[in-house]
Amino acid sequence: MGVVVAAVATGFGALPLLAGFAGSSVSTGALYGAGWPAFGVAAALLLDRGTEPRVGWALAALALVPAAMVVIALPTAGDTVWSRVEDLWRAADVVVVLLTLVLLAWAMGYAPGRTQRRRLFWLLVWSAVVVGTVVVADSTLDARAEAVVLTLGMWSLAGLVTRLTIASEFRPVDEPLVDVVAVALILAIGAAVGVVVRLAGTRAGIPAPVPTAAFAAVMSTALAWPAAAWWRRSWLARRYGTGTLTPADVASITADLHHLTDPRELLAKAAEMVAASSGHPEVTLVLGMDSPDVPPGWVDHPLLVGGDRVGTLLLNPDDPEGPEPRQARLVEQLLPTVALVCRAVGLAVEAEHARQDVARERDAERARILGDLHDGLGPVLAGMSMRVQAELRRSPTPLLESLAPELAEARGDLRRIVSGLTPLALHDSDLAGALERLIATFDGDGRQVELEIAVEHPLPREVTVAVYRSVAEGITNALRHGRASHVAVRVATTVAGHVAVDVRDDGVGGPIAPGVGLTSLQQRAEQLGGSLAVRPHDEGGVLLHVQLPTKGAA
């Protein structure tokens, strides 16, 4: 129905133009109406789509303007009807255009919101251009030229209104302004170069200065184009994001990845990437299936992997009306990737927790076993030693003579096993104190154990325990297997964020077969991201070297 009405209106509006044809030319009065049928075409389009019928009906009404002008002119005209119409147009064109624009503005209406605001803005801008042009044309051009200007103005207005009504989103208004500035800039450069070449050429007396200047102007405009395009791109990227990740972004964001100790720091990196590509000033990633608190003005996107919620992406769009549609689309595209990152980080965190739990359980289990060993075997050995000593005093036999020192050695072994392998020695004390006490249990009996410790800062607990065990194992091996009389222990933190343990003895040296203790220590060191090496020393004896990173789950 609407389309039919629009077609009829267009027909009626076009009638004066068709009637105004006289031979091969058209009379000026008829030419004035040539622009208005465009509104009829636009009305048919909009009414057909069903978007904003009010605008459609207003456009259909505008198509009738030329017919209305003829009807108004008719009563006072005789056979000079077209010159009467021409006079009427000439007198009233500015008013008619203004009324047209008011009608269009009313039809498009205003509702709060970014899209509506931008639509009205563009209508006003173009209205100002059209009105300005018509006013200038009215006062400077002859009627025929003015009619042509008016026609072009109406066609462009009809096109604009159609575009504004159909479009569901608009770029921020500063973007086209940047375009305008960029174009004006390169045109100005071209013009300036042209003028300079022209003046200089004339003065120097070159042949054909004008074509030369024109050529120079065109060339400099063409050369300035890429620079202007680059400026426009970087300006918009600063404001709305690049829309993509450049290799430079990726490089700068991932540059320090290998320093990460907590997999969760990857989330901060992923958030930075989203921020850099989408132009959001603040982006946060949250793990887990619970909804985080969304700060006012922020936007949240649940992150799903296989239907399970693995996290949430939070964005601060820096605009109370939300991200620009383009930014929102980009974020939508990134969501699956970010969700996978979240899932991977979540798994890594779980794995790390499981590892710590296992280590803790193992420590507790070891402590329990050692405690049982100490409390069960200790009193038996002590009681037997006293008994043997008592018997030895009463009636010494070769058996008792040999049994007493063996029992003493067994007591010492037990003490060392317990003190060397339980991390409880570190429970209430610092590493240096614990090591000193440990070494005191070995020192004496013709053996000498020296400790040099240079630890700059408190170490993570796991590392402390590993250092303690390394020293205990190193000394035990040196004294037991190496039959050393002198052991030098050195524990020092390095600048590179490591702690190094060196246990050097003057024992028999030779090939080293790693036992259970060393193998377990080596595994522990590797778990902590460090290393353990045992090798014969050049000057005799054996050197145990352990290196552990001091950064970690501190």
Binding site: D375, P379, M386, R415, V418, S419, T422, A434, R437
Partner: protein
């Protein structure tokens, strides 16, 4: 002749210690008891008592205090497998005359009894700080043992004094997740409030590094 009484619940230690005392000239074993109750029932006054720190029916130090009240002239040496500073300080504070590790050399045990009999203070190897906590007992009941790494991570930050929102931000979690985990943690720890959990965390050594 120095009259010696020994109290230890471990049969091998008791027989070994008794034999050792009997083998020494100048020492006379007047009583051997396995529990605090048996020890209190003894009527012969000894000069020196060698007491186990941990007895099945009570604390060696308490027994020592009781015996000293009965016999003010009694000298007491505590004998134990456990060489920790707290126990040493507690025994000496309670008026005991010495502290000795069970796995000391048997000759040292005898020497300690003689020293105590002379009225001097005995501090054996171990009690002087050489072995101390290393010669650990059964693992201490760790209040935090019920927690897993995920809980400890949160408790650590709470002990550092961070509010829930910052704990959540630090761990990339939603505040709601943190609140849920904290309440699970309270159940595991069997405490009613966050503050109690934080106190337990501090006692357990969290928040120091």
């Amino acid at each position: 002749m120095t009259k010696v009484m020994v109290v230890d619940d471990h049969p091998i230690v008791l027989s070994g210690l008794s034999a050792l005392v009997e083998s020494e000239d100048g020492l006379e074993l007047v009583a051997a008891a396995r529990t605090a109750a048996e020890a209190r029932a003894i009527t012969t006054e000894p000069d020196v008592a060698v007491l186990d720190l941990e007895l099945p029916d009570g604390d060696g130090i308490e027994l020592g205090t009781t015996l000293k009240r009965t016999w003010p002239g009694l000298r007491i040496v505590m004998l134990t497998m456990h060489a920790d500073d707290q126990a040493v300080i507690r025994s000496l504070g309670a008026g005991m005359d010495g502290y000795l590790l069970k796995d000391s050399d048997p000759e040292d045990v005898l020497a300690a009894i003689h020293t105590a009999a002379r009225g001097a203070l005995v501090l054996g190897r171990g009690a002087s700080g050489a072995v101390v906590a290393a010669a650990a007992s059964a693992p201490r009941t760790d209040a935090l043992a019920a927690l897993d790494a995920r809980d400890l991570e949160i408790l650590e930050l709470l002990v550092q004094g961070l509010p829930t929102s910052q704990v959540a931000a630090r761990l990339f979690l939603a505040p709601k997740t943190v609140r849920n985990r904290v309440s699970e943690m309270l159940t595991k720890l069997g405490v009613a409030s966050r503050d109690e959990a934080i106190a337990l965390g501090q006692a357990g050594g969290l928040g120091r590094s």
